[in-house]
Each structure stands twice: as C-alpha cells, then as structure tokens.
C-alpha cells in the first residue's frame, strides 16, 4: 500500500463517478459504504504511521509540469494525519445521519467529490496541488448549500464562493511570488512546500507574503472581520453541509497557517502575534456575545464556531509547542463537537421544521436520549474537563500565557461566555415547562441517529480522558517545525519568541 495517500485522495473521486450509475434508492447506502471504506483506509494510514517520527511520511512524487516545477507531491505528518482521519470520520457520520430525501444521488456524489478535495488539501505538499484542492472544494459546497439549503440558499452559496475565491486568488499571487523567488535563488522552479521552507526572506518580503497568504486563510477560517459569510452559509446550508463546513472546511484555513505561514515566514509571524491575537480575542468575545443574542439554535452554534476558531488562531500564534499542538488538537475537537452539534440541531429540525429556540422548551422530558447527547456535546463545546474540548483549549491558553498573560485572561473568558450562551440555549430548549403542545408528540432519537452519535460521544470522552495517542504524533511534528522555525528566524525577537524545547506532555 505504498500509494495509500493517492488512494485516499482519489478513491472518493472514482467512487463518486461510479456513483452516477447507482440507482437512486440505493445511493445512500452506496455513499455510506464508500465513506466507510475511506474511513478504514485512513485508519490504516494511522496504524501504519510512525508516531515517533516527526518527518513527513508516505511521500509520493510525480511531476505534472516539469518546466514549471509543479509536481503531484503528497505526504502526511503528525499535523495533517489526524485532520485526514477526522475528515473521513465526519464524512462517514454525516452521511449516515443524512436525512435528505430529494436528489439523494446528487448529494452522495457531491459529498464524495468534496471528500476528495478535503483529503487532498491536507495531504498536498505542493503549493499548486494544495491550491487546486483548496479551490475545487468550493464547488461541491456551493452546490450543497445552493441546492438543498434554506430560502436564501443561492445568496448564501454565492457569498461563500466569492468570498473564499477572492481571498485565495490573492494567496495564489503570493505563491507565485514565492516560487519566483525560489527560482531566482536556486535557478529551478519549484512549488514544493518543503523546498520553500528552505527559503529565507528578508523581513519586508516576509511581511507582504504573510499578508497575501493571510488573506486567503483568514477568509476561510473565518477571522473577524471576514466572518460574515459563515453565519449565512450555516444558516442556509442543509445539516450535512453545515457539518462538513464546520468540521472540515474551516480547518483548512487554520491548517494553512500551520503549513505555510509559520514555517515559511517565522519572523513575520512573530511580528504579527499581537494583531492576530487582538483579532482572535475580538472573535472570541464579540462572536460569543453575538451567539448569545441569537434566537436560532443553528446560528448560536455557527457563531460559537467563529468563537472557537479564535481560540485555535490564538494557539497557533503562541509560537510554542503547547499552543500549536493544542490548536491542532482543538481543530480536531471542534470538528467533532461542532459537527455533532449541527447534526443535533438537524435532528430537531427534521422533526419540527424549526430551529427557533422559543418554539422549544422542556425537550428533556420528551426526548431524554437526545437531551443527554446534546448535553455531552454542549459540555465538550464549552470545554468541560474530561471532554475533548478541554484538552485543546487548556493547552492553547497555557501556551499563550507565556506570550501575554493579559490577553490570555481575556481569551480565557471564552470558557465563561461560551458557557453562558450554550447553557442559555440548553435552558431555553430543554428545561422548563413544555411550552409547545405539539412538541409532546416528538420522537426520541431513532436507531440510525443513535448509531451516528455513539462514536462521536465515545471519541469526545475517550480523547478528553486520554488524549496522548493523538497528541504525541502532533507534538512531535510541531516540535520539529518549531525548532526549524527557530533556526530559520532572522530577527532576535523571533528567535526569543519561538520556543522549541518544552513539550506539551511535560506541561500536563
């Protein structure tokens, strides 16, 4: 299985194309089988991944445009490994929990195409291949939101597309400039990220290139003030669209920062710590307040996503291994928890066709199992100890404490405000008297829903109690990256700021 990465990337594509032949009635089962095979393949990758090595593994290399240095170059390290596994897992569970009835075949095929692009983004080590999957991922998402979404779906889907597309074209100019500089220095064209790591830019170049990449990634994350597309996209998207958007697509932005911005422009990254920290804290506090003001359950979770992405951004720019490893762990945990929350909102929406909290009340007595799962996910989202949400958030805050205690305390309020809006949501919907008579007839989770939630609950608790199997490989790769950055940094401030020695394990 030396081509495991290519299989992981292109299997969903081929299966998706074959899916056109499958009969409408059987399309859902087909999709679930393919997603399950893909998930098993990614587990196989994890099992065979050498967790003690920080290096990039399973490398595949094939020239595409030789004269121009564009190669099909993929590989996996501790940073990308779990994002891939999370992607395949969430696709599988999203597919299992999917309740869409109309045009189901198109939906299954679209999700499989989307899965290809998502896995491709995390595995690509060539900037153009990365860009290729990055842009291609917009198309299936556009279709999912636009075809199965709510009343404003067309507006939401186009807004989503244009926002991200414009940002990434600026990023493309940045990539072309890096490639040009590489050509100028070495005389060869190369778009391989690992080649680019070796380039040392002076501060001015670093700053502008950092900005070019920042525009592309920040819109995707989405960072304040570029976040306005996200509530629309979430508000209008069908459940499966929201699940994948929140769980995976947003992570592409933060992954981009770790993969490109930090190792390529260490000095500029250190220079930008303060502005980014301030934006992140605005994201954390401001969007949390906005979340509290929402009446629509889904919007609460959409804004809470932005708030949590703020924590992730903060951790990435802590420039030490706790912060970055914590961030990557938080990416996984947010992927699973927010995905699960969107699925839970989908469950109630399917039954009542409303997401407005005031229509509910006392759901806990009618749907106890549902309330239990919702409660667990909610606690994980808030960051209760012994859930998956705690580990990442705690590491990020520890990491950033070394940079700035004051900002960390501000960021720490996220746990408090998060608890406020989440518990308010829970109180309004699940406790109190049953305000709406019709709700009394609601059915609790059925077996299909239980099957899709059990693995997520298990992961939330397992990784909350014992995160080591995931954290160790991440930490190895992050350490390697940090020591590389420290060596590469040219300004003394950057050399001081980047901490490569202490490990996350010691901190625990």
């Amino acid at each position: 299985m030396s081509f495991i990465l290519s299989i992981l990337i292109f299997f969903p594509l081929i299966a998706g194309m074959l899916g056109f032949i499958v009969d409408k009635g059987s399309a859902r089962v087909y999709g679930i089988s393919i997603a399950a095979i893909e998930f098993l393949l990614s587990l196989w990758l994890w099992m065979n991944f050498d967790a003690n090595s920080a290096a990039i593994q399973f490398i595949e290399f094939m020239p595409i445009v030789k004269d121009f240095g564009i190669n099909y170059y993929v590989g996996v390290d501790g940073i990308s490994l779990f994002l891939v596994v999370m992607t395949t897992l969430m696709t599988l569970i999203g597919m299992v929990s999917m309740t869409i009835k109309n045009e189901i075949k198109n939906m299954v095929v679209t999700i499989l195409f989307l899965e290809m692009t998502m896995v491709g983004v995390f595995l690509a080590l060539d900037a153009i291949v990365f860009y290729f999957f990055w842009e291609l991922s917009l198309v299936p998402m556009l279709y999912i939101i636009g075809a199965w979404g709510g009343p404003l779906r067309v507006y939401a889907s186009i807004k989503f597309f244009l926002y991200t597309f414009s940002g990434s074209l600026i990023m493309l100019v940045g990539m072309l400039f890096v490639a040009y500089k590489f050509h100028e220095i070495t005389g060869v064209w190369s778009f391989a990220i690992t080649d680019w790591y070796a380039l040392k830019f002076d501060l001015n170049y670093q700053f502008w290139l950092f900005l070019a990449f920042f525009v592309g990634f920040a819109i995707k994350v989405p960072m304040f003030p570029f976040h306005t597309w996200l509530p629309y996209a979430h508000g209008q998207a069908p459940t499966i669209g929201s699940v994948i958007l929140a769980a995976v697509l947003l992570k592409m932005g933060t992954y981009g920062f770790v993969r490109f911005s930090l190792p390529m422009f260490p000095d500029a990254s250190v220079m930008m710590i303060l502005p980014i920290a301030i934006i992140s804290i605005i994201m954390i506090i401001y969007t949390a307040m906005v979340a509290y003001a929402q009446e629509d359950m889904k919007q609460v979770i959409a804004y809470s996503s932005v708030s949590h992405m703020g924590i992730i951004m903060l951790g990435i720019f802590a420039m030490n291994s706790q912060g970055i490893s914590g961030s990557i762990f938080q990416m996984l945990s947010h992927g699973i928890v927010s995905g699960a929350l969107f699925m839970l909102v989908g469950v109630i929406y399917d039954r009542t066709h409303t997401k407005i909290m005031s229509n509910f009340g006392g759901l806990a007595t009618i749907m106890p199992k549902y309330a239990l799962v919702f409660g667990i996910m909610l606690m994980a989202s808030v960051g209760l100890p012994l859930t998956i949400g705690f580990v990442g958030e705690f590491l990020v805050l520890i990491g950033f404490y070394k940079v700035s205690p004051v900002l960390t305390i501000l960021a720490g309020t996220s746990i408090i405000v998060g608890a406020i809006y989440m518990l308010a949501l829970y109180k309004k919907s699940f406790f109190g008297a049953i305000t709406n008579e019709e709700n009394k007839k609601l059915k609790d989770l059925d077996s299909r829903e239980i099957v899709s939630f059990i693995p997520l609950v298990a992961i939330v608790i397992w990784l909350g109690v014992y995160p080591k199997p995931v954290l160790t490989p991440i930490d190895n790769s992050v350490q390697a990256m940090l020591s590389f950055m420290k060596e590469k940094a040219i300004t003394p401030e950057a050399k001081n700021m980047i901490v490569a020695t202490q490990t996350a394990k010691e901190a625990k």
């Binding site: 020239p63 595409i64 445009v65 030789k66 004269d67 121009f68 153009i128 860009y131 290729f132 842009e135 291609l136 917009l138 198309v139 556009l142 279709y143 636009g146 075809a147 779906r153 067309v154 889907s157 186009i158 597309f161 244009l162 597309f165 414009s166 074209l169 600026i170 493309l172 100019v173 072309l176 400039f177 490639a179 040009y180 050509h183």
Partner: protein, 495 residues
C-alpha cells in the same frame, strides 16, 4: 534602367507559402465544384473543408522556421504557433455547420470558400514582418469574416456585419496612418529594419513624439481588432448578431492573429524601453479586463455575457504582452491555446440550444432563464456547460486556470505584483457571472415548460463538445507538453 532580379525557386522558399496556398486553392476548388454541380449538401463542403484544413495543418507542421518569398514572409516560432491555433480552432468550428436544423448560410458553398480564404488571410497576417503584407492579411481575413457574419441572414446579423465592417474600416485607417508615421520616421516597412532604425533614433528627443505617436496609432488599430477598451463597443453586438459558433470563433482566431502581430510590433517598443508604450498597453489591459467584467455582470443574455467575458480575457492576455518577457509572450499563446477549447465549447453549447425563432425572450436567443433548472431537464448538458463555466472562471484543474496561472506568474516574475493582484481580483469578479449561469442551471426551477432545449443537436456537434470538454478537463496532463512546445517556439523566435 532597372536591373532584372535573379531569383531561384529555392530562394523563394515556397514551402513557407504552402499552408496559405492550400487554403486558397481549397477555397477555389469548392467554388469550382459548385460551378459543375450545384445544390450539393453542406456535409460535402464541411468534409472537404476539414480535409483542406488538415492538409494545411500538415503543411504548417512540416515547416522549418525561415524567411522566404522575397523576404516578405517570416515564418518563425510565433507564426507557427499562431497558425496551429488558427487551424485547430477552424477545424473545431467547421463541423458545427452540421446542425440538425437547417441554417441558411451553410447551404452556400461560398460560405466555406470564404471561410478558407479567411483562414489564409490570418495565416498571412502572422507569417510576415512586412507592414503591408500584414495589412493585406488583416483585410483579406476581415472582409471574409464580415460576409460570413452577414450570411447568417437575420436583421441583427446584418447590423452586426455593418457595425463590424465600419469599425474594421476605421481600424484599417488607423493602421495605415500608424504605418505611414513609422515609415516616415524610420524609412522602412520591415519590422526588423524598423527596430534597427528605432534603436538608433528613438533616444533623440525630437523623435520621441513621432515614435510614440506611430505606436499609439497602431495600438488603436489593434485595440479595435482585439476589442480593448474603449474600442470594444462593437464586440457584444457583433457577437450577438453572429451565429454562436462564429461568435466563439471570433473570440479566438482573429484575436490570436492580432496578438501575434501586436507582439511583433509592440515588442520592438518594449524591448527598446519606450516606457510610454508599455504604460499605455498596461492601462488599456487593466481597464479592459475590469470594465468588461463589470459589464458582463449586468448582462441578461448568456451570449452577451460570454462576449464581454471574451473581452475581459483579451485584456488579461494583453497585459502579458506588456511585460516584455519571453514568459509573458509565450503566455499569450499558451493562454489562447487553453482558452480556445473552453470558450469554443461554451459557444457550441449555446449553438446546440439555438432555436430558429426567438422563443424565450423578445430580444435574446439565450437569456439566463432559458437555462433555469437545466439539471432537471438535461443533466449531462448542464454538467458540461457548468464545467466550461468553471474553467472560464479559472477554477483549477480546468484549462483556463493553467493559462491564468502562467500569465500571473509571468507578471510576478517581471515585477508587476500589483498587476498580478488586479488579475486575481478580476478573476474573482468574473467568477460571479460565470457562477450566475451555473446557479441558474443547477439551483433554480425550470422557467419554461419544455422537455428539451437542445433543438439543434447532432452527432458532429456532440463530438466537438466532447473534444472541447476532454481538452478542458484533462488539461492538467497536457499542459506540460504544451508549455514546453510553445515556450520553445516563442523563445526561438527571439521574443
């Protein structure tokens, strides 16, 4: 007493002329056949034209770059590349005559004869560095093209032909004036001699105005031909009036030929460091791509939208010309080689859906509403059209993306970062109107209650769409070859 000139056949280097001669002889042959037996079916003429074009292609492939024919002809790498593009696009165009519905113009053999003369005209245009022969080539091709448009036999086709003709005549005037100024300042009409003369004289103060003035007049002429702002106003109406395949053809072939000539002429100025010319070209290019994009946003008809989008693409490519680097110059042809398949494919899809009468709107053949909900009516057609639109928008891995990537990279290499950013933002704006069609096809409910909008479909048309689609989708695999080949030819010609 004039001394007689001794010329051997060898020196004439006739193989250089062979491609054009094949096209002209073929056109005459078609006319002769009509003399003997009239009322022959269009399929005969289509196949004859295909064979002639194929022979033409082989003749071009057999050429080794050289000068010839009293030094009038200059067949270098640029010429060969553009001839290839012209002929391949023509071969994609001609089978589109084989529609299932009968359209007036294709029943005349004159259509095919004129078409072949036009191809020969374009080939002459790109195979010389003599300003007069360029002019002859331009006019041969243009006059044939005006007639081809008018033959579509609709009131707005006549309007289009007349509009194009008057604008073309104006451009020809500017071209003649520009050439005259250049002749006055340099004493030559051969571009290589002009370059030598300019390199000596352009630095002297008094010459600057004359040199720039000549360049500006020529630039105006080419801006008409390339439909650059503010000389683009004819384009949308002409595209609308012409039949869809001819509109698609016009967005590729005349522009490739005009770009080849523009490259020969303006590269002189850019090489000599006449910054004013470079600045004018850059400004024209940026304004063209931006304004055409804005205009395309508000169109209600898909064909007019594609017309504006072609203008915008031409502006994009024009910017590459201003860079003055081999990469930029090669980018012009690489871009068109990739753009050709996608754009012709998109116009062919319109052609397939063409009805003889105006069915869907009082004014337009192809309003957006016509394609509403196409995914429910004709899923394959919707998917194919969507792929063309995504390619035009520059979504990887489809063909136009590689062209955009290459030209943006050329701009970055030449130090024009801001230009590259403007190109990027323009691509983002353009994405909106391409997506608009995709949205109509995939996300809206059908407006008209029909079970097909593909009245005009036939096997040959499907084959052409298939070729265009395969080239668009698999460009990632042949971009490497294309790049190496075109780059080598363009750099060997000294650009």
């Amino acid at each position: 007493m004039v001394t007689p000139i001794q010329v051997t056949v060898q020196e004439l280097n006739l193989p250089l002329l062979a491609p054009m001669l094949i096209a002209i002889a073929g056109g005459l042959g078609i006319l002769v056949i009509d003399l003997f037996k009239s009322n022959l079916d269009k399929s005969l003429y289509v196949m004859l034209s295909m064979i002639i074009l194929f022979a033409d292609l082989l003749a071009v492939a057999g050429i080794t770059p050289n000068r010839g024919f009293f030094d009038l002809m200059l067949v270098d790498g640029v010429s060969i590349v553009s001839q290839f593009l012209v002929i391949v696009a023509s071969m994609l165009f001609i089978p589109l005559a084989l529609t299932s519905k009968r359209f007036h113009e294709f029943s005349y053999p004159e259509f095919f004869a004129l078409f072949l003369f036009m191809v020969a005209g374009f080939q002459f245009m790109v195979s010389t560095d003599n300003l007069i022969l360029i002019f002859v080539g331009i006019e041969t091709a243009s006059l044939a093209l005006y007639t081809l448009i008018a033959m579509h036999n609709r009131s707005n086709s006549f309007e289009a032909a007349i509009k194009y003709f008057t604008m073309g005549a104006l451009a020809a005037g500017f071209y003649a004036m520009g050439s005259a100024v250049i002749y006055a300042t340099t004493g030559s009409i051969e571009l290589w001699q002009i370059k030598e003369a300019l390199s000596i004289s352009s630095s002297t103060g008094s010459m600057v105005l004359a040199v720039t003035g000549g360049a500006v007049l020529l630039l105006v002429a080419f801006a008409f031909k390339l439909s650059l702002f503010p000389f683009h106003t004819w384009a949308p109406d002409v595209y609308e009036g012409a039949s869809a395949p001819l509109a698609g053809y016009m967005s590729i072939v005349p522009k490739v030929a005009a770009f080849a000539v523009a490259l020969r002429i303006f590269n002189i100025y850019i090489d000599l460091g006449v910054e004013s010319v470079r600045t004018i070209i850059l400004v024209l290019a940026v304004v063209t791509m931006t304004l055409a994009n804005m205009m395309a946003l508000v169109q209600e008809d898909v064909k007019r939208m594609l017309a504006y989008s072609s203008i915008s693409h031409a502006g994009f490519v024009m910017a590459a010309l201003a860079l003055g680097t081999t990469k930029g110059n090669a980018g012009v042809f690489i871009y068109y080689a990739l753009f050709m398949f996608t754009n012709l494919g998109a116009f062919t899809m319109l052609w397939i859906s063409r009805h003889k009468k105006l069915m869907y709107s009082d004014r337009y053949d192809h309003p957006y509403e016509k394609f509403a909900g196409l995914i429910k009516i004709m899923p394959m057609g919707a998917v194919v059209m969507a792929l063309f639109m995504l390619s035009l928008a520059g979504v990887p891995p489809f063909s136009v993306f590689w062209g955009k990537l290459f030209i943006m990279s050329a701009a970055v290499d030449a130090g024009y970062i801001k230009l590259a950013i403007i190109m990027g933002l323009n691509s983002a704006i353009a994405a909106y109107y391409y997506l608009k069609l995709v949205v109509y096809m995939f996300l809206k409910e059908p407006v008209f209650n029909t079970d097909t909008i593909y009245y005009n479909i036939s096997k040959p048309l499907m084959v052409i769409v298939g070729i265009a689609l395969v080239a668009t989708v698999t460009s990632v695999f042949f971009f490497d070859v294309l790049l190496t080949y075109i780059y080598a030819l363009v750099s060997a010609s000294g650009f």
